[in-house]
Amino acid sequence: MSKKKTTVVSGFVVAIVLLLLNVLVALRIIDEYTSQVLTIAGINVIIALGLNLISGFTGQLALGHAGFMAVGAYTTAALMMKLNIHVFPAIIGGALMAAIFGFLIGLPTLRLRGDYLAIVTLGFGEIIRVVMINLPDLTGGPAGLKGIPTYTTNFFWRPVVSFALVYFVLAFVVVLLSNLLRSSHGKAIISIREDEIAANAMGINVFYYKIFSFTVSAFIGGLGGALYAPFFGYLSPNMFNFQKSVEFLIIVVLGGMGNLTGTVLAGIGLTYLQEVLRFLKDYRLVIYPLILIVVMIFQPSGIMGLFGNREFSLATLINKLNSERPTQEKSSDKAGEVQ
């Protein structure tokens, strides 16, 4: 099969799987609680994918993705509530606003050594919370923002629409990121993580690609937050604390830095685990940092490191199943997911 044909077939497979899942949610075979957990998991995965782009692939640690999530969520809510804008353009608006913040933070910081991004994004995440608390007109202040219009008021369709939208966006983000990362532009980004000086000497504008990667990362973080606002219908500044930023980091680290498949698996797994472990209360809070430390010391490449850092690739799978016609396709594609 030609590369293009494989791409088309992969697209169909993804669409069918998504549709099937939605039918299951609509028929309540996946019950409402589970679909809600899965929707939150989807949002977490989206934001973690954004974080993985800057931290896992570009090698620059960012610690403020809860902040971008907050910017996306509050902007979307404000656009819907104050300006009566429709939910879809409002979501795009939220993500764009986060991207602008990302760009402005990246500009002074990304010229410098990588460590500074960590501390500046950490500070950003904290300050954005203070700002939210002090803008009660827009954000409802410390009490939170109630009454955000949800995707639909119909109780039957509400979980279905949220679920469908989040997983559609998730698939979209995965495809775009994996396409980007396998292209020459994506390789340029990865080469920065590998060796900044050598990348520069190979003609790669390191600063440009860092800014690009961080802005896209902030956009995706904002997108996650934007999807969250009309799903949950309520926002409070304390939802977006440092703890939350670190949760995204744990997803990335556990899945494997620089691996999209791992982020998807770890994001869904950890969100589910969080629900299962609710009975542990505060003790859960001790488990997360232990995961970080143990993974970093004993398995720094995360769970996907156990599988040679490969990405799950539908194209490869399809080509394997389509074995009657031998193909030229490389089966060991290093950075590819759904083609």
Binding site: N200, A201, M202
Partner: protein
């Protein structure tokens, strides 16, 4: 025709004058050697030429791909590479965790003709370009006889092949001036001989001007047309290999030391 020229460049680290008053003048198609004892400032010169360090004073001019003279003193490394001057690193700076092929593909970055949108949406241009880049990369790997290892991670190559990959990667940026920083370091005499032949071959094939830092005197004397000798950041001699070999200053400063070390 001069393609690379430095006018009186110097650089100071703290109180130390690492290179002072260097005047290089390298003509098109030349293969020039830069030699000197450890710490003489050779790699520092490369770092200044490629924009990693900014010289404290002096000017650096190169002829770019369009034969226009450019002052490159204030440019970033990637801009200098774009003008057509590429380098290798003495202490091997490959993208270790990427495949050999990816290492070369990344170095093709400047020649990629599709934009991010083409890549993300997988437009036809993307496929055409990627195919072309892969072909060209494989061709370069073939010249250095490492094409069979294109799928391996760079860090898993033996040392000699890592050095070769450094050169392939630099070539992939399509330079007309190539700076090689101790390309034969750590190689045995047979490998060194092979490499010398390869360097001469690529010089002809890609119409390169080469500036080469090397410790191995045999290699330098064997293939360089002209040689600059440095000691403590100063140029103490310049000339043909024969002139250098008979220069008493060089023998005292460089060869003498080498012999003591060897003994």
């Amino acid at each position: 025709m001069t393609v690379l020229k430095t006018e009186n460049i110097s650089i100071q680290f703290g109180g130390l004058m690492a290179v002072s008053g260097l005047n290089l003048d390298i003509k098109e198609g030349e293969l020039v050697g830069l030699i000197g004892p450890n710490g003489a400032g050779k790699t520092t010169i490369f770092n200044m030429l490629t924009g990693v360090y900014k010289p404290t004073n002096g000017r650096i001019m190169i002829k770019d791909r369009k034969d226009e003279v450019q002052d490159i003193r204030k440019l970033h490394p990637y801009q200098i590479t774009a003008l057509g001057m590429a380098r290798t690193f003495q202490n091997i700076r490959l993208f270790k965790d990427l495949t050999v092929l990816d290492n070369v593909r990344i170095a093709n970055h400047l020649n990629v003709e599709y934009n991010t949108l083409d890549a993300v949406l997988r437009l036809p241009k993307y496929y055409q370009e990627e195919e072309r880049i892969e072909e060209q990369s494989m061709e370069l790997l073939k010249i250095f006889n490492i094409e069979a290892k294109s799928g391996e991670l760079a860090k898993n190559l033996p040392y000699g092949e890592q050095r070769k990959l450094e050169i392939v990667r630099a070539l992939a940026t399509k330079p007309h001036i190539l700076l090689l920083d101790e390309p034969a370091a750590g190689m045995n005499p047979q490998e060194t001989q092979e490499l010398m032949d390869l360097i001469e071959y690529i010089k002809e094939r890609f119409a390169l001007t080469i500036l080469l830092i090397e410790h191995d005197m045999k290699l330098v004397m064997g293939i360089c047309q002209r040689i600059y000798v440095l000691d403590y950041g100063r140029t103490i001699a310049r000339g043909t290999p024969a002139e250098i070999a008979n220069n008493p200053l060089v023998i005292k400063a460089y060869l003498g030391k080498e012999m003591e070390n060897d003994a």
